[in-house]
Amino acid sequence: MNVEISRRRFLQGSVALSILGGMSFSSDKLFSQENKDSLSSEKKTKDVPFLCGMCVNKCAGFARVEDGVIKKLNPNPYFPKSRNMLCPRGNAGIHTLYDPDRLKYPLIRIGERGDGKYKRASWDEAYDAILHGTDKFKGILQILDEEKDNRATIGYCNGEGLSKEGFEDLMGQKIGTPNYVDEISICLETTLAGYFNTIGTYGEADLKNCDYLIIAGANRAEAIITPDTMDMFKRNRGRGLKIIAIDPRYTNTVANADRWYAINPGTDLAFVLALTYVVIKEELYNKDFVAKYAVGFEDYKKHILSNNYTPQWAEKITGIDADEIYKTAVEFMRAINPIYYQGRRSVFAKNDFQLRRAMAIFQGLSGNLDKKGGIVFGKKIKLPKEDINAPMYAQVQERFDVKSVAIPPDKTGSWILFRNIILEGKNPYPVRAMFMRKHNPMSGVPNTTKTEQFLRKMDLNVMIDILPSDTTMFCDVVLPEASYLERTSPVASYGAIEPAIVQRKASVEPLYETKTPEVIYKELAQRLTKPLWKNTLKYDEDVQDDTKGMDPSAIEKYYKENGFDLTDLYEKTVEEANRDKVIKTFGEEAWKILEERGVYYPNIQKYHKKLNANESEYYPDDKKYYTTKKDKLKVIMNFKNLAKKGVDPMPTWHDRWAFKVPEGQFRLITGRHAQFTQSGTTNNIMLRDLIRTNYLWINQDVANKRGIEFGDDLEVKSSVGKINIKAFPTDRIAYNQIFLLHGFGGTSKEMEFAYGHGANDALIIEDKVEPVYGGAVMHETNVEVRKV
């Protein structure tokens, strides 16, 4: 079904064309043959292919299930992305499933927000509370009635994952609010944007064949990304891949690198500009490539040279020796397959978009793009998508935060701006409800105090999640979701040099009274659809015009045909939709392979070869998708349209970005560790054994001077808040910087293992945004530290 989008003011972005089936389970399914068998005395063992949900990577594994209990998670040798491995978090996934603190049944708030008083409710009661509210909070129906069916009064958010699109479809397309925020603005938004706007892709770094790697601000030994981490550290140190690590901190990646430059935080752009200066000035760049594919090279050349971005200039800003910058630039261009690694994670500094542009351009100057050993575009195996019958609401207003950044993203916004505009009351219409899923802004979004105020300001907060996070504690209705090991997820396509499609299958049935996200979406839709439709009939003049004089059955027909029926997304279960899609596209045999192995790609049976006990070959080298762009490749050096938005069309350094820390203060930097992801894994008892709390890294000499020893209690204070944390004096950090791991210091007492351990960096990171997309700037906060 296609729907015309023209006449009404609703969607500024494109209508996402996908449909995700809800999953309903009948009693047949609950007591399937398998389960019946398991009642017999003999142990029944099976290996179920799953995709890990402990972080963003989606590595593949097999769950060893004995008598309906998952005993062990093993790596899956068939997936080219995860290359037969599971990291510590992947291994510990069992303890997310069996976490005793899990949300087990729906909850309705009976106390005040934040005090943790809830009553256990049935799913019907919970949906009812969302609709009609209780004596403690308003329901969505009343709110929409008071707002005259302006659906934009509902905000929603969702963290990364395979069921995220389903939530976007329900909230954005069907219920019809444009006010959406997700993890992207506290994650790699500007990185993606910088690369897309320069070379047309974020791309994949072919680290299996790269021979010279500059990795700056990315920490692949501790922030594991597959397959990069595996490819990188099997070939480093004299084994074909030279690694130059740029990081303010001596990380485990630095420990495995050939050279390390401790850069001043937030000055990477100056470093890249100086590298660029050297290769342009000395004409070391790939001239043939640049002549063929670069857009605006002469402008860029003039720009770089006239601004005098010399290594000597950069030395003063970055703290990296000019000779070393020069040497690195020359080595990079002399290498056969050099890569300036794109990196991921969050925005470091306000210049982040320009930094990523400069990095992509520098890569372009080497010509090492769209080819083996370079940054490649790869290929994505296409899966069919179904259209959504999205209704048009006349009363819905457009996003309220689009004018606050230079380039408003078309679907999601900036968390900080979204929150702050509402807090300051600058939104043109009231935003009164938040529907949240798998997201913990109390930990993820800088300035937790403001996030708490924001949540308190809402009339209704709904949360769908697995664990009672800090954010959950400010919600009115809490819906418990099945973890990734208890659900079959929509089949996904992994685009890469070695592409594949993958399917997560439920290893066990949902525990307690939890339900899979798609079932929750479906039931929520069933419960909300008619009452919300009545509200639309009451206020929506377009609908009133259209339905004037219609009899009830004609109105019902109109409601269904025009997509107001929220439940029409859920005609198929996830399993049915996956099966239909795969069989339709690749045939029965492909479906069989996918069901057994969790992975499928054309010719998998022919191509996949075991090399030894540890490793496989997934595609023969001549079948890999190294070069896919060919003549369509472009490297946009001078992006003139950006100037119209008030953004530098070519990466330019501005002195306001210089690294400055007042005497006696420290620059706060934050990051990740291989043994946990974010706040979501802090309650995992297995991972807790490895890393129980976070410490404050402080320079050893500074600590000595101040009489600070390991384990001492420190107070760290910024302009927005303060934390208490234990000291970890180390030589691995510069004298005017401190570091702490992100994700600790949760205040939810319901997460018993995590509670009371460490400090929450979001409490002290100032809520600054970068001006192009509104990404949260993580490394521009100066703090005071004192022993307490």
Binding site: K72, P75, M230, G238, A255, A674, M686, R732
Partner: protein
């Protein structure tokens, strides 16, 4: 059959996937100090330059194992394949084996009230037909290769014939079976990560040592 492990420790990034996989596979007691396997870390400064080395490790399953000799109840014993195991029912927690072990590979399992240590997943995987240990299988960078020293065509022997290697605390004379591959093409890293006194072996040099120790002790290998 003579089980051993080759470690390309140069690949290790200290992510500890192996430790978690081991705990999950073998139901190792929870607790930071209850580890059958671990990643050792040295953290140092040479001439003003920081360096950090990682040494993934576990029980060496020594062919001439002192822990077996000191055990008064024969709880510590050899089995077929030259593995050193602990019969936890026989263990009286005298901790003599913990003292005798040069590698500090043993700890007290407070739940089973017995000494515990790495088994090369003998009971949980190998006897069930698997050919890899949990730590090996899960490793992102594929540090470990488990196998049989008597299998001339196996991955382990192939690696040991191609590469030079060292063992930890060779001077203890226990004939350990964790073989650490010497980093190739990076002398600086090799120097910095291998102790000055460590002897570097080729398989031709190591093979007779192994055979002698095996001849001496294999009579004690119990059939499982």
């Amino acid at each position: 059959m003579n089980y051993a492990m080759v470690l390309d420790y140069q690949n290790c990034i200290n992510c500890k996937a192996c430790e978690v996989a081991c705990k999950e596979q073998n139901n190792v007691e929870l607790g930071a100090d209850k580890q059958r396997i671990w990643v050792g870390q040295t953290d140092n400064v040479i001439f003003g330059n920081l360096f950090v080395n990682f040494y993934p490790s576990q029980c060496n399953h020594c062919l001439d194992a002192p822990c077996v000799d000191v055990c008064p109840t024969q709880a510590s014993h050899f089995v077929e394949g030259g593995l050193v195991l602990v019969d936890q029912k026989k263990c009286i927690l005298c901790k003599g084996c913990m003292e005798a072990c040069p590698y500090d590979a043993r700890f007290v399992d407070d739940e089973r009230v017995a000494v515990d240590k790495c088994t090369f997943c003998y009971d949980t995987r190998i006897l069930k037909g698997e050919t890899t240990t949990a730590c090996q299988a899960t490793c992102p960078t594929k540090v470990r290769m488990f196998g049989d020293l008597d299998d001339e065509n196996g991955d382990v022997i192939q690696l040991l014939k191609q590469r030079k290697f060292f063992v930890l605390k060779a001077k203890e004379g226990t004939v350990p079976k964790l073989f650490y591959l010497v980093p190739e093409n990076d002398e600086e890293y090799a120097l910095q990560s291998i102790g000055h006194n460590n002897k570097i072996y080729t398989w031709d040099e190591m093979s007779p040592i192994i055979e002698a120790a095996k001849a001496k002790r294999s009579k004690q290998w119990k059939k499982s």
